[in-house]
């Protein structure tokens, strides 16, 4: 493989990886703080994509501006979902969590099918269809590198937002409370923290983040009622690879998975690339279940009691 091709593949991989990263950050946050396996995470992504589409279709809203609408909307949806369903699964056996969220995903998928039909929807941006060309860099013997604008924008925005969020978690009061709650619930309780309120907030933030990812993805992908399931599996791989609860892990994991996907798709064949990253998934779970950045031994989950 010549170096030109290698660089092109690498760039493509990183770009798609950035998007996977942003979508997964919400999931890892929910995982890390509340130990909830949110199987419906892909459906919220899908809903955000639809919202972006409808805003574009009816009001000619630019998808990147739609983010301003998607953020509060998905945040509210997150709060409502938590109050109605998730709250009761805290402390319940893993089984309950998995299947309540799975049930939610079935309900959301089919409500969307009912109201908005099975048609695929796309958004085409006139300013975004010609590729940006980098190079050629004769001195490095690299030919032209082609980059697709919406992916580049999505990547840049995704990484920036992830960093902003990381800083928020690290330095703001709310962020510190969230981290405290995830590290030691009982201690946090003893410190007078209203655990329930922060669980709710965390969940809503997680949904908000995946909502932004959805808005960013709309110009790149098509949306239909069942698109969430495909994405949620990738998100789980990223989260496990990066370490549950680790934002940095999700970012690096996302990019890593994006690169693995592109390279194996080229070298082995596009059919088997999914198998490859699932094998990576199993390998991680077996060798280092806490992931790249998770706390060692974190997979020994303590049984969380109910909130009362």
């Amino acid at each position: 493989m010549d170096i030109s091709l290698f660089v092109q593949l690498l760039i493509s991989g990183i770009l798609i990886g950035g998007i996977y990263a942003l979508a997964s950050i919400g999931l890892t946050l929910i995982f890390g703080v509340m130990k909830i396996v949110n199987f419906a995470h892909g459906e919220f992504l899908m809903v955000a994509m639809y919202v972006t589409f409808w805003l574009f279709h009816y009001f000619a809203f630019d998808p990147y501006l739609s983010i301003l609408v998607v953020m509060p909307l998905l945040f509210i949806i997150g709060i409502v979902t938590y109050q109605l369903f998730i709250r009761k699964t805290i402390g319940a056996p893993v089984l309950t969590q998995i299947f309540v969220t799975l049930g939610l995903s079935i309900v959301i998928q089919n409500l969307v099918l009912l109201f908005w039909s099975a048609d695929f929807r796309t958004v085409s941006l006139s300013y975004a269809s010609t590729p940006i060309v980098f190079g050629p860099y004769a001195s490095l013997s690299i030919g032209e590198i082609l980059v697709n604008p919406p992916r580049l924008i999505a990547f840049v925005l995704a990484i920036s937002l992830s960093l902003v969020f990381y800083l928020f978690l690290k330095y703001s009061y709310t962020g510190k409370v969230i981290r405290a709650t995830s590290q030691d619930r009982s201690a946090a309780l003893l410190m007078g923290i209203n655990i329930e309120k922060f669980y709710r907030l965390t969940f809503a933030i997680g949904i908000l983040l995946v909502g932004i990812a959805g808005a960013l993805m709309m110009p790149i992908y098509t949306v239909h009622p069942f698109v969430g399931f495909d994405f949620v599996l990738v998100m789980f791989v990223v989260v496990v690879l990066g370490g549950m609860g680790s934002i940095v892990g999700a970012m690096i994991g996302g990019i890593f998975i994006g690169i693995v996907e592109i390279f194996s798709s080229f070298l082995i064949g596009p059919d088997s690339k999914q198998a490859i990253y699932f094998l990576v998934f199993i390998a991680v779970l077996v060798i280092r279940p806490s992931g790249l950045f998770g706390l060692k031994g974190e997979e020994e989950l303590e049984h969380i009691e109910t909130i009362d």
């Binding site: 593949l9 048609d119 695929f120 798709s265 064949g269």
Partner: protein, 411 residues
Amino acid sequence: MRRVLIATSLLAFSLVFFSVTQGVFAADNVWRIGTIYPLTGPNAKNGIKNFDGVKIATEMINEAGGVLGKKVGLVSADAPDPQAAASEANRLITNERVTAIIGTQSSGLSMAATVVAEKNKVFYIETEGVSGLITARGFKYLFRTTFSGDMMATQMVDFSAEGLALKLGKTKENLRLAIVHEDGGFGTSTGKGLQARAKALGLNVVSTQSYSAKSADLSGLILKLKQAKPDILLAAQYINDSILFHRQAKELRFKTLVFGTTAGQGNPDFVKALGKDADGVLAGGIPAEISIKRLGAQPNKDAAEFVQRYEKTHHGEYPNPTSFVGFAGAWIFYKFILPNAGTLDPDKLRATALSLDIKPGHGALNWGVKFAKPGASNAGQNLYASPGINQWQDGHLKLIYPTEIATADFR
């Protein structure tokens, strides 16, 4: 008290269940025909469209007075997966007492439902499932009205080797072909057909790739194809992935002549998503622009009316190829099979179907009707269901082959 409550609700539940599944025994003055299509689940999008074609055909025939004076009543079933397809076939046959079924859109669903129909000696019209496996089982009561995947693949390869090669300034010997297909039932069987025909003609296939239609990103695949430098890329894709493919191919500057199918590139959504970039792309399968003067007068009128009704109920959208085949299948049944049989008795329907010999251009769309006889390797296949080859030109899909009924030439 509680036990009484529980017992009563259980009883009520079973009563409701048994009564509801008994089926409506409609009055005798309606032809009761069952339908099985995926209206939910992964195939929903195409299933609904296919079924729309059948529904419009039914409306049209009923408004014209029905078949032999009796209206047609559809008893419809939803089959999101093969197990459901088999179950629903059982339900339609035993509870709803239908003796003729129209279905199924997807080959996998068709395989499951037709087994049940055949075991119960129920007449079955397959409107869209193209897999060769469907007709390879020698079923007596199964008739596929549309062309098979192999027929379409053969036409595509032949046209590439002869017509297209010339236009590209190449010969059969130095023509470079590549094949790409999604890995579902449609893609796999069409891909197999393309490969087999290319091999039979001794053509040079430089690369064959498959991928999951659910992939979010096809860059690796495209780069691989780009390296192989094909002159023509034969593609068996669905609409979603074909749009993704073309967009990414443009981004990665992969230029080649793409020859797809109406399931993907020929879908009206294709030009909506790609605009000018759609021009020049070929799509084999259902002939576009059906209302052509060179068709027999009646099919021309029928098709035009179909298009009109479809647009009225679909916000002015031109019919999807899958709706066209749904329409054609039902229409063949209502116009040629049922009236000549005069009954819904499967054996009579079967005898009538096998006796039909309607020349191409006089059936539905530009098709004729002639089913392969029992004993043939594809018994039940409509041999006069000819696929056509279309090309996008200035945002419109034009039929460029067969030349007798073409509306434009290849550009």
